[in-house]
């Protein structure tokens, strides 16, 4: 073994040019692999961080009646089934040690209404208790204008991104109540039009749901304009609203006016299930009402009805750190089924739909790139090593004549490639690690959401896990073995006679 490595090592030194060619290829391959893995892991971590920490937690509970798991970034128009069993759910969740925190929310599409315009604009409404929301997601966005609503206050938070879009639809620039136009935050077109800019401090929205026929148009006072830390083009479609206004808007029974929760059976009886968009446009759909004047659908119950008794669409759950994802999902599903809650648990990557898919596409592209890279590397290395085997045939034949077995010759070649790939590949990995560590320090930023997904945060932040490095090392090993295989065959095929006839 020592003899093999000695000979291999000295041969490397003896054929410096060739060794260098192979070395550079291996170095480049290992470097790109490492950085690539870093980007992938950074991206995976970034998506997780952005979505889990800032958007929906690890797991969402959704109604059993809900067909698609993708409740957050679903196609426009398909509504999310209501959950009416939150009381039971809460009790069960409180008893689960692996659940760190949870937040019941309403989530559905709403149409922006404006008396003067015919084309409607859309936004997602996320209904939640503001103070609970803040506890669940303490730093996912910053309020850039106005203020964060007080607990229990009826209000709407509009993302800057949505405001820009609303402007495109209506030429109205929405402002928080009591706030003025902040020039830096103005959309370019709006800035150009600043003298005739129409501003408004309230938004009229009509909830869009297929389940219940009594959606209402609600005028929401804008309390603040927010900007998400990342993925504004995705998260920016979500306007945060207090849960009671949300329910009114969607035509759900609010806690205040609800004496009986809406059981599923009853809705079925009424024959209002199914994504029938036409049913959304009832006769009174265009009548604008102020939330304060919203009619009570049922007589207010006398006592003890809190917001928690009302209708939600999902419950966001954050898990205790280090808890196995799959286990938690299974346990939750068991507990929820056992408790008669008629909800099921889905992981974040399913609930947030296409974003998981996007990550997969990027991963695949990178994988294909790396595979191509290694194919090229293998071809060049095979070529170089085969040449060197042929050049050394008198030396190899002589070794065979003196009594070296085929395995010895094979080992010598494998040893050479192994040393080269260990040294240069190792350097490549090291350089890759270094690059991955340095890149975040450069704080490269982007406004592009696809890139933000890659960046995994506000700035390009590739990550490297031990397993990522191990994967690179393993891939390098595979390349080494594959690349050495053919030259080894050639070398092994050299006979002692070849040594002698070469004079």
């Amino acid at each position: 073994m020592k003899l093999l490595l000695t000979i291999a090592w000295r041969n490397i030194l003896r054929h410096k040019g060739k060794s260098l060619v192979i070395g550079v290829i291996l170095f480049t391959g290992a470097f790109l692999m490492t950085v690539g893995n870093g980007v992938i892991s950074g991206m995976a971590a970034g998506i997780e961080k952005n979505i889990i920490n800032g958007f929906m937690g690890d797991i969402a509970l959704i109604s059993d009646a809900q067909k698609s798991d993708n409740i957050l970034l679903n196609m426009m128009g398909s509504s999310i089934e209501p959950i009416t069993t939150y009381r039971k759910i809460k009790e069960i969740l409180l008893a689960q040690p692996y659940v760190r925190r949870f937040l019941p929310v309403g989530k559905n599409l709403a149409m922006l209404l404006d008396e003067s315009t015919v084309t409607p604009g859309y936004a997602y409404l996320l209904g939640a208790d503001f103070s609970e929301y803040r506890k669940m997601f303490p730093d996912n966005f910053t309020v850039i204008e106005g203020s964060y609503p007080a607990p229990g206050e009826r209000a709407l938070l509009v993302p800057a991104f949505a405001r820009d879009e609303f402007y495109d639809f209506y030429n109205i620039w929405f402002l928080p109540e009591g706030g003025g136009v902040v020039k830096e935050n103005l959309k370019k077109e709006a800035l150009a039009d600043i003298n005739s800019l129409v501003v408004s401090t309230s938004v009229v929205m009509m909830g869009m749901t297929s389940g219940i026929n009594t959606t209402s148009d609600i005028r929401f006072p804008v309390r603040g304009i927010v900007r998400y830390g990342a993925l504004n083009q995705i998260f920016g479609h979500f306007c945060l609203v207090d849960i009671e206004s949300y329910r009114e808007c969607l035509g759900y029974f609010t806690a205040a006016d609800m004496s009986v929760q809406v059981p599923k059976e009853e809705k079925k009886l009424l024959g209002m299930e199914g994504p029938d968009l036409d049913s959304l446009f009832g006769g009174d759909a265009m009548i604008v009402r102020d939330y304060k004047a919203a009619p009570k659908l049922r007589a207010a119950p006398a006592a003890a009805k809190t917001a928690e008794d009302g209708v939600y669409n999902a419950v966001f759950i954050k898990l205790v750190d280090g808890v196995s994802y799959k286990e938690a999902l299974a346990k939750l599903n068991r507990a929820m089924a056992g408790g008669g809650t008629e909800v099921r648990a889905v992981p974040w990557n399913k609930a947030s739909g296409p974003m998981g898919g996007m990550a997969l596409i990027i991963k695949s592209a990178l994988f294909i790139f790396v595979t191509l890279l290694f194919c090229v590397a293998v071809i060049i290395i095979v070529n170089t090593l085969t040449m060197s085997a042929i050049e050394r045939s008198s030396e190899i034949g002589m070794m065979r004549a003196v009594g070296a077995r085929k395995t010895f010759i094979a080992g010598m070649f494998l040893g050479e490639t192994a040393i080269l790939s260990a040294v240069f590949g190792g350097l490549g990995i090291a350089a890759g690690i270094l690059a991955v560590k340095i890149i975040p320090l450069l704080e490269i930023t982007t406004k592009n959401d696809m890139l933000q997904l890659l960046y995994g945060g506000n700035f390009f932040n590739p990550l490297l896990s031990f397993s990522g490095i191990a994967l690179t090392a393993f891939q390098l090993l595979v390349v080494t073995v594959i690349a050495a295989l053919y030259p080894m065959r050639v070398a092994v095929g050299i006979t002692p006679l070849d040594a002698i006839s070469r004079e």
Partner: protein, 228 residues
Amino acid sequence: MNIIEIRELKKEYPLGNTIVPALRGVDLEVEEGEFMSIIGPSGSGKTTLLNVIGCIDFATAGSVTVGGREITTLSDTQVTDLRLNKIGFIFQNFNLIPVLDVFENIEFPLLLMKKSGAEARKRAEKLVEEVGLKEFAAHRPAELSGGQRQRVAIARALVTNPEIVLADEPTANLDSVTGAAILELMRRMNELEKTTFVFSTHDANVLKYARRIVKIKDGLIEKEPAAA
């Protein structure tokens, strides 16, 4: 006892569409401990014969027994091990491993035999001394003269204590003084270790050392003259 037994050995080389008969029915017996020379004109088949005996080339027809084993029946690994354990080969163009120094080149077969490090070193040291290359032990082949390289090749052939040493014109590339020294060394080894030596030459000076001379011509052994 015959350490080498050759019967009806034929060796043909294909050359384009024709066939070149290099050996045309050789019968030869070599006893253990012999110091034998094969002579003959150029192209007579000396190298071919030595290659077949050394299991480096293989017969087209006939039987070759080396150390009691019929080599045509052996696998590649068995043949390799036979070369390693029983035969020492000195090539005409003294092939050495360029990346190993003198000492390492001599030690090489011992390491292939998986001899223990200390044992191998001792034996290699002895051989380095015997071929008079002690001061050159750390030199690479490229830093040696032709004669020195040939001495390294001889030491390497002898280091495993082989039963047979085959040498193809061991002195062809050497001046007469160096050639004589090499032959002296081989002779001494033969006497000391009872190693069988078979070498080819067409140098009359070399013949003086041989105790038995076999003449070969056009791929056939001629009648043997009396031993020198």
